[in-house]
């Protein structure tokens, strides 16, 4: 099994992209990543596209086949990977294993979604298609609804408070305003909202006990990475290659009600364990993480299930600033899903792009973890029924 490195990354500003098609978003992010990898006019061997709503929202299928043509990458192999909100990490996983196998050398992985074509209840309903078709969907349960119930249970079991959730929300909104790729940055520019602490503290209830600012926005966006065997990386690019040091993936019951303890995110624990084992690392080796905070509670719960903090201590750690820049373990310095946005197919790839920027030490001081060497991502599918974890490592010169 060959070691695989990331040699190029690209992201487009998330938010409302009314003027662009889904294919525009995917092509734009892809070209940035190919350019960043220094591949120029050279082709890649294969393309993996992460997307969930092309068929349902844009009524376009087989978009990977279309993208290779659009990018003049013919006759590169191509397919679309769909795994709900974990589509991005699933696409990278398949690219990773394809390069690791020796079959392909250079692979482009791009995730994108144009979700603003369905807003309000239609966006919630679109996302709810990943719930159980007999046991959940017909009863009207939504992902925010599940998150609300999960939060209530977590509060009762572990003493999580609204203050702790607010700490996540405020941190991620603040980091988002510093991130030119974040949806919230655009919202701030355009509408002048999201900019006061009061607005965040006093925002309306969405799915009790969660409020509006505990939820990620509905965003358009795309992100891409180029990978190759580690031993080819230094020949292809002058930038520091980033090794995919570890990877893990685990599934859990489709419905929450079937979990012995619904507050136990088993798939997060297992995926992280697998990734740490592969990377020969432990949680304390990680310098920066991008977690899947589609709801603020998830950043707290994931940080505990990964092992960054003991169970019940994640919220406290956030309040104490341990997950801020300069803290013990900075989390979601991109603004996370909460503020960067959550175009579902893009998210898992975008998380990896942000960690690569961290490990290359390319971010402005306001977001850069000093001398970061190891980073971690969690991409959370369904309500935790399919979770992927990557551990990335800066390759020493």
């Amino acid at each position: 099994m060959r070691d695989v490195a990331i040699i190029g990354v690209g992201m487009i500003p998330f938010g409302r992209r009314d003027e662009d098609t889904l294919m525009d978003l995917l092509a734009w992010a892809s070209l940035k990543a190919l350019d960043d990898a220094g591949l120029g006019d050279k082709s890649v061997d294969a393309v993996y596209v992460a997307n969930m709503g092309g068929g349902m929202i844009q009524r376009q299928t087989a978009i990977a086949s279309s993208l290779v043509d659009r990018l003049s990458l013919l006759p590169a192999a191509a397919e679309t990977i769909e795994n709900g909100p974990a589509s991005g990490a699933s696409a990278l996983k398949n690219g990773l294993l394809a390069v690791a196998s020796g079959y392909y050398d250079t692979v482009l992985v791009v995730g994108g979604e144009k979700m603003r074509e369905v807003t309000g209840w239609r966006a919630t309903d679109f996302v709810a298609t990943m719930t159980h078709p007999q046991a959940e969907y017909p009863y009207g349960i939504t992902l925010p609804g599940m998150a609300g119930m999960f939060t209530r249970l977590y509060m009762e079991k572990y003493g999580v408070t609204r203050e702790m959730l607010l700490a996540i929300s405020l941190k991620n909104q603040e980091m988002g305003t510093l991130n030119p790729y974040a949806h919230v940055e655009m919202a701030l520019d355009r509408a002048g909202i999201f900019d006061s602490r009061d607005a965040i503290v006093n925002n309306p209830t969405s799915a009790d006990p969660l409020h509006l600012y505990d939820l990620c926005p509905v965003s358009d966006g795309a992100a891409a990475v180029v990978i190759c065997p580690l031993d080819m990386a230094k020949k292809l690019t002058s930038k520091p290659p980033v090794l995919i040091a570890g990877f893990g993936q685990a599934t859990d019951t489709h419905t929450l009600q079937e979990r012995e303890d619904p507050t136990d995110l088993k798939a997060v624990t297992l995926a992280a364990q697998q990734a740490f084992e592969r990377a020969k690392m432990k949680p304390s080796d990680i310098h920066v993480a991008e977690l899947h905070d589609a709801f603020t509670i998830l950043e707290i719960a994931e940080s505990e299930h990964i092992g960054f903090f003991p169970k019940g201590q994640g919220g406290k750690a956030a309040v104490e600033g341990k997950t801020r820049l300069g803290g013990q373990l900075p989390i979601n310095l991109s603004g996370g899903l909460k503020a960067r946005g959550h175009p579902v197919g893009a998210t898992g790839v975008a998380q990896v792009v942000d960690i690569v920027w961290q490990l290359r030490h390319e971010l402005p001081k306001t977001r850069q973890v000093k001398n970061a060497q190891n980073g971690l991502t969690i991409n959370f599918g369904g309500f935790g029924n399919n979770v992927l974890c990557f551990i990335l490592r800066r390759v020493q010169d």
Copy 2:
């Protein structure tokens, strides 16, 4: 790169499955393949699901995550692969590379589609979502429309006649009636049609010069395979393992109009060349093939582009019986897409299942190629803009 073998296969009868859900079809085929592999209650490391219409037709996404739970395979990794009508082969490709990489040992690949929920123009429109969203779809072009124009060009360039197309149609309808898994078999039972030569010869025009019986039906169905490293295969199963000896995939322009010669299916040629190179074989080494005859013309054109027959000779070969059982190269002894049916996500996997049965010598005499050792499949995405080829080999005892 590890050698990978198929150790279990399963298929459900294609046709109308009104009483079953999409998940029922996928689970049913999966359990058959797991049982065939002798895995019994043992889990697999990963599951790949091929499907195109879950979101659009059933309004269900992330179906791979749902399936692992349904099959009690938790916490196995899982994702859905979508590549239009080539989704099945794309899913198997990703399973193949994952096992080849050394990351997974046992992988279940299952393809399925429940298409009968959209019939008539709605089925045609569903399939047309894979056409170009600006250059083709808005102008009302359908896949049968493209096939009609392709057939006319092929007739003019290579002298293909209606008689040649009829030879394909009659052969595949006949083989379908011998195949208990074929859609046409069910139609015959239920409606008493498809059973006379006259009905096939005198069937109405669909997309001139193609008639109704030149087109595959709209089917429900599912098929599954279990793969593992070759060196584990003999420990896991007493049946003859089938090696995935070669694999190829290539893309072509999204629109037909951009191809220098629209009768030149470059992606078929390239995918087959790659597969032959990997397998260290040539066309004459193949004993049986399953080609993607969504339209009769495609069986002729593919048989030429692969190199089974010189350009312009595929139709003649069919008329002369060279592609029938006992002929030089038997093609689509399953009945092909034409008669087995074409539930899009299932097709690429079903083709492989049929070849495995051939190479294990498990079929009844009416369909079994005597002592078949090597088989080939072509799974054709879009209108030839994403094509995958597998070459399978019976492992000598």
